[in-house]
């Protein structure tokens, strides 16, 4: 901030001169002690003054932070400013070679070369002549060749492929990489076993196992690799086909087992020994689930709190519907649809321009064949619309919807009918059993009670039970005194039904 004349005067305690006549310069305001806020250029600040909108300060473009390379020294703009080229000695070297590199001038002169610590000598055993004669004799290997092997292993850090590649013992028999490995590891094992061991037995055993090498197994493994490599394309294709076949068989078997269980459950009922309640409940859950899903796709999204709705003030781009526009639209058969305002603005919700024929309603895959069959019965082909106008599509949509509802209802009715029949037969069996077997007891009483209920409700009860499967929860209370059939199919946990089931199983 430049010092003004007023500042100088105040510093030197010269009294402020009264307004200088004839001065063309407007008197400068006494400098306000406000600091220029961050993120606003000096020029802009001097134009708009301290009444800067706070928004400006917030929108400062944040650049990526400069990497801190130079150890926090004040001069960061040039990395080499406090560096010097210095000769260094590498302690990993045996000789006194001095190379020169650039280091920070502040670095200590006699520091250890940072890369010397990576010079890790390979951990290869050595043995004495005495040890060799006592433990390591082998009729296949001479001492000289063993020495040579260990030298090569040390030279190439026990990288076996390289060791094998460079292994060239003059006058020796040709050896495979596995021969070399076997000899090397057997020598190591013997040395570990026979040398005095500082640690405990467990660590010694562990050490020995780390040197285990089974040549036979290694050879078999390599044979497998080779045979795997030598497969012809036909063999590979066959293998894949077989794999798929096996998978299919497994799947078939699983299906068969499931069907058999179901059949058993249906025929033998409780005597089948299969947990039959689970199935019913699962079915019930399924029905509820699909209902939830169905609702979820339309209504749930709208009132779910997690999806933020667009605030009312959000400017929805809308073309003003002037009279001229309306006339134009009508003349050109344009129908404008307002963009849905309640659906959150996401990529998925956005609907790009499309051909109407792309949006022909298609029945759900699960019920598609049934719908097609139902429509075919009426002689309607829904798959091809000759003229997919807006109205036609709406009609087709409503037709499909109606058919779907019809098919769905038919399915449910069939299912419930079937359930009633099964349970009736079961009830009949039970009745006959109860009559001849046990005259008293809770079981018989239960049956009686149920029997009464069924008798009372009669034809009306069946209709009720159909309803109850569709909306089980809401009907819980009314159904409590309903027929047995409705209780068992719905599987809702009414207290009495629950105790009954427990006793039975």
């Amino acid at each position: 901030m430049a010092a003004s004349a007023a500042d100088v005067r105040s510093i030197l305690s010269i009294p402020e001169p009264s307004a200088v006549p004839g001065s063309s310069q407007p008197r400068k305001q006494p400098s306000v002690p406000t600091r220029k806020p961050e993120g606003i250029s000096r020029e802009l600040y001097s134009l708009i003054g301290p009444s800067a909108p706070s928004l400006v300060a917030l929108t400062k473009p944040r650049l990526k932070q400069k990497p801190n390379l130079g150890g926090g020294s004040k001069v960061k703009w040039h990395l080499w400013i406090d560096r010097e080229c210095r000769a260094f000695k590498n302690s990993a070297r045996q000789d006194a070679l001095e190379l020169r590199h650039w280091v920070k001038a502040s670095a200590p002169e006699d520091a250890e070369y940072p890369f010397a610590k990576y010079n890790i000598p390979p951990n290869v055993f050595t043995y004495s002549q005495d040890e060799y004669t006592r433990f390591l004799e082998d009729k296949e290997w001479s001492k000289e060749e063993t020495d040579y092997l260990f030298k090569v292993a040390r030279d190439y850090d026990v990288r076996w492929f390289v060791v094998y590649d460079r292994y060239d013992y003059p006058g020796g028999v040709p050896r495979t990489v596995d021969d070399l490995k076997e000899r090397y590891y057997s020598v190591c094992r013997k040395l570990v076993r026979n040398r005095p061991w500082a640690g405990d037995e467990a660590s010694k055993a562990q050490m020995i196992t780390s040197y285990l090498f089974d040549k036979e197994r290694e050879l078999t493994r390599k044979k497998y690799i080779v045979s795997l490599e030598n497969r012809t394309p036909e063999q590979i294709a066959e293998e894949e086909a077989l794999f798929i076949e096996v998978k299919r068989l497994e799947q078939n078997e699983r299906r068969f087992r499931k069907e058999r269980d179901e059949l058993l459950r249906t025929i033998a009922g409780i005597e089948s020994g299969l947990p039959d309640i689970v199935e019913d409940e699962g079915l019930m859950n399924l029905v509820i689930d699909t209902k939830k899903k169905k609702r979820g796709s339309t209504a749930m999204d709208m009132d779910s709190p997690s999806t933020p709705a667009i605030p009312a003030s959000f400017p929805i781009v809308k073309r003003p519907q002037t009279a001229k526009n309306a006339a134009f639209d009508a003349a050109n058969c344009i129908i404008r649809t307002d963009p849905p305002t309640t659906i959150p603005v996401t990529k998925a919700a956005h609907q790009p321009a499309h051909l109407r024929s792309y949006k022909l309603p298609v029945p759900k895959a699960a019920v598609a064949p049934k719908i097609t069959a139902a429509l075919a019965e009426l002689g309607i082909s829904h798959s091809r619309l000759v003229m997919p106008t807006r109205d036609n599509i709406m009609q087709l949509e409503s037709l499909l919807e109606a058919t779907t509802a019809l098919v769905e209802t038919k399915r449910v009715v069939d299912k419930v009918d079937y359930d009633i029949r099964v349970l009736k037969s079961r009830l009949g069996m039970r009745e006959s059993q109860g009559a001849e077997g046990r005259p008293g007891g809770t079981e018989a009483m239960d049956v009686d009670e149920g029997h009464d209920g069924a008798e009372v409700v009669g034809e009306d009860g069946r209709a009720q039970s159909v309803l109850s499967t569709r909306s089980a929860r809401s009907r819980k209370h009314t159904r409590r005194s309903m027929s047995i059939s409705s209780v068992d199919t719905s599987g809702t946990a009414t207290t009495r039904a629950g105790t009954k089931r427990q006793k039975r199983s």
Binding site: N90, A92, R93, D95, A96, L97, L99, R100, H101, W102, Y113, P114, F115, A116, Y118, N119, D155, Y156, R159, F161, V162, Y164, D165, R166, V177, K222, I225, V226, E229
Partner: protein
């Protein structure tokens, strides 16, 4: 600094190949000096010496080295190349070549820098010892190392284990590299590029029903020419005085260069193997020779690249010493490697060398390899500099590593142990 493992000691990297000598500072991504290995010379005899710009003189022979060396026409100038089949055959010109690259082009003093030199895998121990001797005795370098181009190419591709396919100007080689070491038993190489070159030359000079044989005259020998129509006989006049004073070796070198130019701009290869129909459907390419003769080359330009991958049985039968083509080199290498390694190597294929910049080469290689190794993965740098100077780049990486500096053969060690240290240190 320790994080990326680099510690630059201003080492120099010198990579000598059949076509060019590359030199530069370790740590750079491109060599600073790239000069042709081929040089021109006059046998002057006695003590008289011709001083020409950009040339180094030697006893009784004046050399013309560098960009203006062989390519500039000089009366009675002979042309020679010290490299034969990838190995240095004539060491007498190696010091002047290196000196030109380091001192005239890079303007640095070799005695102040450690130098890393490259060698092909099939280099002889005598050769590398000679190289060490030149470096220590003539250039007085403080430290020296000689590294294998196979390993360096693998390093340049960022791999320790790789199958390096290197196609240069005169040699094609397949080298298995495991953990930074070459498996010498798995190496296979051949003079395949020379065969391809000879084939291309044969195509050009042989007249066909469509066109006449091409006269491979370099532009240095042509005084003037006239624009002629497609396939029309060229109208040009030759610099008669020059033709008379041109040596055979220079003429051969210049003609080879014309053939190479043609290969590089016109020749190609079919990606999926030879197919007459497919070859005919490819668009022909126009080419104009220095004489002004210009024509379109159709199927024949594609047959050039085919030589890399397939040799017709009659050719094999008539020529017992035919160099092996690339697929057989790869097969040889993989067969001699352990079964366990084949999988690793075939999934780490590194393609390098200027010869692989041949149009369509890599695509064809991919299709050939995937046929026998479905899981193969090929690394071929898209940057032509990286592809051509992969060996140098690997050397640049290696010599700038902090952990590498313990491997240098220092002058002290050289004086103490002599030549034996080279074989001991540079494994």
């Amino acid at each position: 600094m320790v994080n990326y493992g680099g510690d630059e000691v201003s080492a120099l990297v010198v990579d000598i190949g059949s076509s060019s000598l590359r030199a530069g500072y370790a740590g750079d991504d491109t060599p600073k000096a790239i000069i042709p290995t081929t040089y021109g010379y006059h046998d002057t005899g006695g003590d008289e010496e011709m001083e020409v710009e950009g040339s180094a003189t030697q006893k009784r022979r004046s050399l013309y080295i560098g960009q203006n060396g062989p390519s500039m026409w000089r009366q009675g100038m002979e042309v020679a190349n010290p490299i034969v089949d990838g190995l240095i055959n004539d060491f007498s010109v190696i010091p002047p070549l290196i000196e030109h690259a380091l001192m005239d082009v890079m303007r640095c003093t070799p005695s102040e820098h450690p130098i890393l030199v490259t060698e092909p895998t099939w280099n002889t121990p005598a050769n590398r010892e000679r190289m060490a001797e030149i470096m220590f005795e003539q250039f007085q370098v403080p430290a020296f190392y000689i590294a294998n181009t196979g390993v360096l190419n693998a390093f340049a591709a960022g791999r320790g284990t790789a199958l390096v396919i290197d196609v240069g100007k005169t040699m094609a080689s397949v080298t298995p590299v495991v953990d930074g070491f070459v498996l010498r038993k798995g190496l296979s190489y051949s003079t395949l590029p020379q065969l391809v070159h000879a084939h291309a030359r044969h195509i050009l000079v042989t007249p066909t029903s469509m066109r006449r044989g091409v006269e491979l005259l370099p532009h240095q020998l042509i005084a003037n020419k006239v624009l002629v129509d497609l396939n029309a006989p060229p109208r040009f006049s030759i610099k008669e005085d020059r033709v008379l004073a041109t040596t055979n070796s220079w003429r051969t070198w210049a003609e080879n260069r014309e053939v190479d130019e043609w290969i590089q701009s016109v020749a190609g290869i079919l990606e999926q193997g030879w197919n007459d129909q497919l070859a005919a459907s490819r668009p022909p390419k126009p080419y104009e020779f220095p004489t002004g003769y210009n024509t379109y080359f159709g199927g024949e330009r594609l047959s050039v690249g085919e030589q890399y991958f397939y040799h017709p049985p009659p050719l094999v039968a008539s020529n017992p010493n035919l160099p092996k083509h690339i697929p057989s080199l790869i097969t040889d290498t993989l067969r001699s490697c352990d079964a366990e390694l084949r999988q690793v190597l075939s999934s780490n294929v590194v393609v390098t060398g200027g010869g692989t910049l041949f149009t369509g080469f890599v695509d064809r290689l991919v299709s050939e390899l995937t046929r026998s190794f479905p899981h193969t993965k090929i690394h071929a740098p898209g940057n032509p500099i990286e592809r051509r100077y992969g060996g140098w780049l690997g050397g640049s990486i290696l010599a700038s590593l902090g952990t590498f500096h313990q491997l240098w053969i220092s002058k002290e060690e050289w004086q103490e142990h002599g030549k034996a240290i080279v074989g001991q240190r540079c494994k």
